[in-house]
């Protein structure tokens, strides 16, 4: 289809506007975190690192950050184990209900957060489990499995099935075959999936609200609880930028990992 020069310009302008729409708010927050006045007024009255220093020494923020990191790491560990097992099973075997497995795994994240949160809350309640740090981890692990599963499954699909057979012909048993053949080949996919799972957990707020025990506050919850307090605005700005950085860095690394190994892992 031959596009007129005008049409091409219009399309490019729309795309540029869409990108501006996506990025202006993020850059705005980054600049406002340095705003001397410590409010949301534009233009900023001057730039300072004062609020960053203040946020760094804020005990509430530190506690919340530590909670988020712990939840993220535990949930990621569980997601890595369950996601890998499920992807190996679905990839290597044919069985009744095989196609529903990926549906089951994606469900916790496909349904709205309110629904997943309410459901898990009711689930814990009917099982007689009081909400705690443990229930928060279980909840996060449940919706994190999908990213590990997807990453590992995508990698397994690119591997040649001959590798395992060759290993078996050479006498490798099940565990040896996993340890010496499969694991090295899916290692970077595991790492990528793990990073994405951590980013997902680190950022989550809705399910967290419904499943965290009393007195437990993750970093997103800290932001949420302090958003409406005018005197906390400068600290919230800083924490907001920090959270963006901390969720984008793992994703960037994951992206690099999956790209860099695409050539090696491909057949």
């Amino acid at each position: 289809m031959v596009l007129s020069p005008l049409a091409r310009v219009v399309l490019k302008v729309i795309t540029a506007l869409a990108l501006a729409f996506l990025y202006i708010p993020i850059f705005l927050i980054a600049i406002l975190s340095l705003n001397k006045a410590g409010n949301l007024v534009w233009p900023p009255s001057g730039l300072t690192l004062h609020w960053w220093r203040l946020a760094w020494h804020n005990q509430g923020v530190r506690d919340a950050l530590w909670t988020s990191v712990k939840v993220g790491l535990c949930a990621t560990a569980i997601a890595l184990i369950l996601g890998t097992m499920a992807s190996l099973a679905v990839h290597r075997f044919t069985f009744f209900g095989r196609t529903s497995i990926s549906f089951l795994i994606v469900l916790p994240i496909a349904l709205p957060g309110v629904v997943t949160g309410m459901a898990l809350n009711r689930g814990f309640d009917s099982a007689g489990i009081t909400l705690s740090f443990f229930t928060l981890i279980v909840a996060h692990a449940t919706f994190c499995v999908v990213v590990v599963y997807n990453n590992v499954f995508a990698r397994l699909r690119r591997l040649s099935p001959n590798l395992d057979e060759a290993g078996a012909d050479l006498g490798a048993d099940l565990f040896q075959s996993y340890r010496y053949i499969t694991y090295p080949l899916i290692k970077s996919a595991l790492l990528a999936g793990g990073l994405l799972a951590f980013a997902l957990s680190f950022d989550e707020i809705v399910v967290t609200t419904f499943t965290a025990g009393v007195g437990i506050e993750t970093l997103p919850q800290w932001i949420y609880n302090n958003i409406a307090r005018p005197n906390q605005v400068p600290i919230v700005n800083v924490v907001a930028v920090f959270v963006i950085l901390l969720s984008i860095i793992p994703v960037y690394l994951a992206q690099r990992l999956t790209d860099a190994t695409a050539g090696i892992a491909g057949r």
Partner: protein
């Protein structure tokens, strides 16, 4: 592989080779781990069960069980004096869901979700088209990353960023002289902002699968670019477009954080669920939370025939 016992244990013990009844020999020595491995190797089904049982048990127990618990709770009632859940079957919660107050909230929520979907479609379709058919390969790669990146920037922070954008005397006010403030408009803008990449990506993928020869054929047959776009591109893209709308629609439908932060006093279904949950009216909150599920299921069933679900 068990017919080569000597090699079978090749990583360490070679004694199996020396005997002619090698299998028995090797079996006598292995570590417990080896024994399990060998037992599983002989039985593929057992291997499958071993791999699958933990993840399936987790999802079914922790999640499907929870969804059932949610459904059950929606039929219970709350003791008005103690706020405790009374496990007696009642349809009151669902009757209450259809009361005018909640009906208004439900209609408003669907309205917001539709508006967000349309806005994202209007921005997303030309953007995806530009990526695939207008710019160079190099530019495209960079643009795709630029569009995907914000997806991973914290959801909450992005909502907060719009609180800053639309603040009184904030950047929008300074640039345009006025700001819509916090309310329905702000909610629609913010949700459109949040889910825009979810609209662009499926359409982008759909366009990539669309062969250029189709577009060339259309222009060879005399169609101008506008005609080609509406008579060739759009019909072929329909499943991909609907896939995008599923995301924007479903994600908007269940939201309550956005409307809480930038929506002023506006309420969505999620808001009411969360409020009733916080005020310990859990059975009613459970009944309410089935509305977004029902609407999403209805939408999915309605679009299933278009093949959109394969584009997710």
């Amino acid at each position: 592989m068990h017919d080569l016992p000597g090699l079978d244990d090749g990583l360490g013990r070679g004694e199996g080779i020396a005997t002619d009844t090698g299998v028995g020999e090797v079996k006598a020595s292995p570590t417990p781990g080896r024994r399990v491995a060998r037992a599983l190797d002989a039985r593929p089904r057992a291997k499958l069960v071993a791999l699958l049982s933990a993840p399936v048990a987790w999802i079914v127990l922790a999640y499907i069980g929870s969804l059932l618990a949610l459904l059950l709770t929606s039929f219970y009632k709350t003791d008005p004096f103690t706020s405790q859940i009374v496990k007696e079957f009642t349809l009151d919660n669902f009757q209450k869901v259809f009361e005018p107050t909640y009906r208004t909230v439900a209609v408003r929520t669907v309205g917001i979700a539709v508006a967000v979907t349309l806005i994202d479609l209007v921005i997303g379709l030309p953007t995806a088209f530009t990526l695939v058919k207008v710019v160079s390969d190099r530019t495209r790669r960079i643009l795709v990353i630029l569009i995907l990146m914000p997806l991973w920037a914290s959801y909450l922070v992005k909502v907060y960023a719009w609180r800053a954008m639309l603040a009184p005397q904030g950047i929008v006010h300074t640039a345009l002289g006025r700001t819509p403030g916090y309310g329905l408009t702000a909610t629609v803008i913010t949700l459109s902002y949040l889910w825009l990449p979810y609209m662009i990506i499926p359409i982008y993928a759909g366009l990539e699968r669309l062969p250029n020869s189709m577009l060339e054929a259309a222009s060879d047959l005399g169609a101008k670019s506008g005609r080609t776009f509406f008579s060739v591109v759009i019909p072929l893209l329909k499943p991909a477009i609907i896939a995008g709308t599923i995301f924007t629609f479903a994600l908007s439908l269940g939201d309550y954080i956005t409307v809480d932060i930038v929506g002023g006093t506006t309420q969505m279904i999620g808001t009411v669920v969360h409020n009733n949950f916080s005020s310990s009216n859990i059975p009613f909150a459970a009944a309410l939370s089935t509305i977004p599920i029902a609407i999403i299921v209805i939408y999915l069933l309605a679009v299933r025939r278009t093949g959109a679900l394969d584009n997710l």
